[in-house]
């Protein structure tokens, strides 16, 4: 189809769907979890581990940099 730009359509759609995801209430998430049989806690655990792993990598930065960041953090 000439003049059709699916990547632009997808970008618009993804923006709208991302808002749906962010705006869905706790109750809706719970309902979906109950109906699907997949627990929110289980899915959350996976993401929490990912965050911990990524944060762990960050804490391995050189001590001087870490000290500068800590000093800056204390200032604000």
């Amino acid at each position: 189809m000439k003049g059709w730009h699916p990547h632009i359509d997808l970008a618009r759609l993804s923006m709208a769907l991302a808002e749906e995801v962010r705006g869905a209430s706790e109750d809706e998430w719970q309902l979906v979890s109950d109906r699907s049989g997949y627990s929110i806690a289980g899915a959350a655990h996976e993401v929490r581990e990912l965050i911990a792993a990524a944060a762990g990598d960050q804490s391995e930065r050189p001590p001087i940099e870490a000290a500068c960041l800590a000093a800056l953090a204390r200032q604000h």
Binding site: L13, V21, E28, A43, V47
Partner: protein, 216 residues
């Protein structure tokens, strides 16, 4: 009068020392994207990420799934989310004030996915006989064929997600065209109630996709 230049010189040196220290700090802040005057600190982001509720973490996962669909080179949602977390924690993506964390993370992931597409295209152009097209490609005036194909497939998958739900598909088509809720209703002769009900079904299918993934 003789002491004045000395005092001035002292003052200049002190000011210079201070300026040097300040500029050093600013350089560190800039190099880390770490400017508390315009955004949160990386310490704030780390704390905020750790404090996310279970539901927010699943929201984050769903957003990562959403943005990473069809990425080249087998890059998945965990890669995109990991990269986003690293970038916000190392300060290269500062968290602006008054922007909710999930909205910010969603934007970072979207931008990371765009970067992956740009990088993939550049690699294809550099490795092939398309060097002449490189400038045009970097200007993004022409769509990337691989990205267009992947987007078409991703759109097809989204349609598949809502298959059998005529109203939801109308809404999907409208959202893809950038229509507002009112325009979608007018264009498809949908009542406000039909729209709201279909949108709720659509949202639940989407949440299920985020929670469960492709497992049916």
């Amino acid at each position: 009068m003789r002491t004045q230049p000395k005092n001035v010189s002292e003052a200049v040196r002190a000011a210079s020392r201070q300026a040097h220290t300040l500029s050093d700090m600013q350089r560190i802040e800039r190099s880390r994207g770490f400017n508390a005057a315009v955004g949160h600190t990386t310490v704030d982001v780390a704390g905020a990420l750790r404090a996310l509720s279970d539901t927010d973490l699943v929201r984050l996962k769903t957003l990562a799934r959403l943005w990473s669909r069809g990425l080249p080179g087998g890059i998945g949602w965990t890669d995109v989310l990991n990269e986003a977390i690293v970038r916000v924690l190392d300060g290269s993506r500062p968290w602006p004030p008054k922007v909710p964390l999930l909205a910010f993370m969603s934007g970072v992931m979207r931008s990371i996915c765009d970067d992956h597409w740009r990088r993939a295209r550049r690699e294809v152009l550099l490795s092939g006989e398309h060097l002449a097209d490189l400038f045009a490609a970097t200007e993004e005036t022409t769509p990337d064929p691989e990205r267009v194909l992947a987007a078409a497939q991703a759109l097809a998958e989204v349609h598949q997600l809502f298959a059998g739900d005529r109203c939801a598909l109308m809404i999907i088509a409208g959202l893809s065209d950038g229509m507002s809720a009112q325009e979608i209703c007018q264009h498809n002769a949908l009542s406000e109630r039909e729209y709201d009900t279909a949108r709720k079904r659509m949202r639940r299918a989407l949440l299920r996709y985020g929670l469960v993934g492709d497992r049916r």
